[in-house]
């Protein structure tokens, strides 16, 4: 009844000792048969029965300090007898994770809910936290960092020396004119905007945090009208004003940290899949930022009474050269049908234009500097 067949190890030798255990008040009575046929008896005090495990059909109990004694019982009724004999005593440590104590269904349910929670945090909470963190960075720091990055990229032209492979060479004349041009447009920004035209054949432009905008001469050369240039500047200045670089950095960083936390303990394949999902997410975000900058540019054109067809024409230039364009720089400009559609839909036909003669004359000077007039 209260007596069960057991195997016992005394922690001194590895010999398997067969015997019985009897559940008594406050302790277990273990009786073992010695090889010579005599019996010996051991008491296990309840409070020192330390570790309980369940392996296959076997219940394993450990007793005392190092080296521990071990008792193994295969009797399926043993656990039942334990709870009957010692109703207040817990031999089986409850799993710390309560879902494990319930059935498999509950466990799977809880797991799925927690996974969805993870996805939710990643998709919705993390980005907004990252963005609000980005917004807390003071403007002066942004300007300082941006200038630091800028100085690392741009090289003043030295006599008899071409720009090095990594650094971009500044075109002084065009940069001066571009800065005059930008002063004639009201971008409604609090950042000190500084345009730098660099001697590169690449058709591209990018904005650094804090107000530096870099335009590649390859793009400027392809422009025929001042409104195309204004649209480009409107777009780049919007990146600056809306702190897009910072937001992007904060979002990628938080996504990266979140992903490394999650994939830390995972196997290769799952980690790679999650990693790529994160990259896709980031790509989607930079598309979002581009769209925001396009909208902002359109608004700037309208407010300054500059022809809004500039944006559409700018996209046409970018599309024409996209086949030969090398990998893009800091701010990528993925050209999509959507951007063209947006520009077409929002451009105003027969709009009221107020010509700014100074803007026009600066543009003429730019064209002359480019040998186009």
């Amino acid at each position: 009844m209260n007596t069960f067949q057991i195997k016992y190890f005394d922690g001194v030798t590895s010999a398997i000792q067969e015997g019985t255990v009897k559940l008594s008040y406050g302790h277990w009575d273990i009786r073992l048969e010695k090889p010579d046929g005599t019996m010996s008896s051991i008491h296990w005090q309840l409070k020192d029965i330390k570790q309980t495990e369940f392996v296959g059909n076997t219940n394993i109990f450990k007793y005392g300090d190092f080296p521990q004694q071990t008792l193994e019982c295969n009797d399926p009724d043993f656990v039942k007898a334990l709870s009957l004999q010692y109703p207040d005593y817990e031999f089986f440590k409850k799993e710390y994770f309560w879902a494990l104590n319930k059935g498999t269904g509950v466990f799977v349910g809880i797991t799925v809910v927690l996974l969805l929670l993870c996805v939710g945090v990643y998709k919705y909470i993390l980005p907004s936290v990252a963005e609000s963190l980005a917004l807390t960075v003071p403007q002066e720091y942004e300007i300082k960092w941006g200038n630091m990055m800028f100085e690392n990229m741009i090289q003043a032209p030295k006599k008899g020396e071409m720009g090095s492979e990594l650094n971009l060479t500044k075109n002084d004349t065009l940069s001066r004119l571009a800065n005059q041009f930008v002063k004639e447009i009201d971008f409604k920004t609090t950042y000190p905007i500084k345009i730098t035209v660099v001697n590169e054949k690449v058709v591209n432009a990018f904005a650094l945090p804090g107000g530096n905008v870099v335009v590649f001469n390859g793009l400027l050369k392809k422009m025929k009208t001042k409104e195309e240039f204004a649209a480009l500047l409107g777009h780049e200045v919007a990146h600056v004003t809306h702190k897009h670089s910072l937001k992007n950095i904060f979002r990628s960083l938080s996504g990266y940290l979140f992903m490394s936390l999650i994939t830390n303990d995972l196997n290769g394949i799952t980690a790679v899949i999650l990693d790529n999902a994160n990259k896709l997410q980031n790509l989607g975000y930079s598309r979002e930022l581009e769209a925001e900058a396009d909208e902002s540019s359109m608004k700037t054109l309208k407010e300054n009474k500059i022809p809004t067809k500039g944006l559409l024409n700018l996209f046409k230039i970018l599309e024409d050269s996209s086949q030969v364009a090398p990998p893009e720089l800091l701010s990528s400009h993925p050209l999509t049908e959507e951007r063209m559609k947006f520009a077409k839909k929002n451009q105003i036909m027969n709009e009221k234009i107020i010509e700014n003669p100074r803007l026009e004359s600066i543009w003429k000077e730019i064209l002359i500097a480019e040998n186009k007039l």
Partner: protein, 319 residues
């Protein structure tokens, strides 16, 4: 009245993918929720499960380590690494180039020194916290001896552009395995650097020539070489250890595992792991007149897990 004992005894793994899956999920979630602090407990629960479900001669192994022990070690190691990186960053921020170079060199020297120290600690901890039929394993190596040997061999490996690496690994195995005790059983490692070098040379060359297919046979050669060079002795009686792992079996196992992983986007990982353990364990045999009842407890207890945590953190896989 017993018949003569069989001359071969096999290891076996009885873990189950579903149970492992549960352990992995719980570990994973709790590690995320605690920002990684749960890691030592996660490791302990996995080790416990795998030890419990590994059997030899009808009895299972037990892992006695706890998350708490490993957490203490984990915190210590995080502290050490934090101080090291702190010094490195401080030196870089100072803008002093000489100081940065000195600190950087110091950083690598300390890191290199930490490897044998961590190995030593890890061996002492792992062996002491492992038992079979109530008898604990033990490691009797000497820390400074191991460090000296490790640094000498590391130096030789560097100046020979890695060629000496085969001898390095072999010497390390010889020292470490030679110092493992299991009750009154002693161990020896009989491999030698020259054989090991040619084994690797041949394996890599053929793997490249066969576009990687030979890799599975190469892996099994390495496994066989390791297992068959472990030589145990109980009271002067030899207990050679044999491997029956075949490259073709491992190849099939890997193909199925690869398919399982790709079709489930990696979710089948716990089942794959159980299959791998089952494969390796069932291919290790102990030959000779082993007396499983006459082992005597000989080794002292050792509970400091810092070395083991360090080995884990450095992702060392030297042996």
């Amino acid at each position: 009245m017993e018949n003569e004992q069989p001359q071969f005894r096999q290891f076996s793994y009885h873990g189950d993918g579903t149970e492992l899956f549960k352990i992995y999920i719980v570990n994973w979630l709790l590690t995320i929720v605690t920002f990684g602090l749960y890691y030592p407990w996660a490791k302990a629960s996995l080790l416990k499960y795998n030890y419990q479900h590994t059997k030899f001669d009808g009895s299972n192994f037990t892992f006695h380590g706890t998350g708490k022990e490993m957490f203490k070690g984990f915190i210590k190691i995080i502290g050490v690494i934090g101080v090291l990186y702190g010094a490195l960053i401080a030196a870089q921020l100072s803008g002093n180039t000489t100081l940065t170079i000195v600190v950087l060199l110091g950083f690598y020297v300390i890191l290199l020194l930490l490897v044998p120290i961590a190995l030593h600690g890890s061996m002492r901890y792992r062996t002491s916290r492992s038992s079979w039929r109530g008898i604990h394993f033990g490691y009797r190596g000497d820390r400074s001896e191991l460090t000296k040997q490790f640094l000498t061999d590391a130096f030789l490996t560097i100046i020979t552009f890695g060629i000496y690496g085969a001898w390095f690994i072999n010497n390390l195995r010889t020292y470490i395995i030679g110092n493992i005790r299991f009750g009154n059983i002693t161990f020896q490692y009989t491999g030698n650097g020259g054989d090991f070098f040619w084994l690797n040379f041949k394996g890599r060359l053929l793997s490249v020539l066969t576009l990687g297919i030979y890799f599975f046979w190469y892996s099994m050669d390495l496994f066989d070489y390791f297992i068959e060079n472990i030589y145990a002795e109980q009271n002067g009686k030899p207990l050679p250890i044999r491997s029956t792992a075949k490259g073709s079996d491992f190849f099939l196992l890997s193909i199925v595992n690869g398919l399982m992983l790709s079709f489930t986007l990696g979710l089948a990982f716990p089942w794959v792991q159980a299959r791998v353990f089952r494969f390796f364990m069932s291919n290790i045999w102990v030959q000779g007149d082993f007396d499983g009842n006459s082992l005597v407890q000989t080794e002292a207890e050792y509970r400091d897990a810092s070395g083991d945590d360090m080995v884990d953190m450095l992702d060392l896989n030297l042996i």
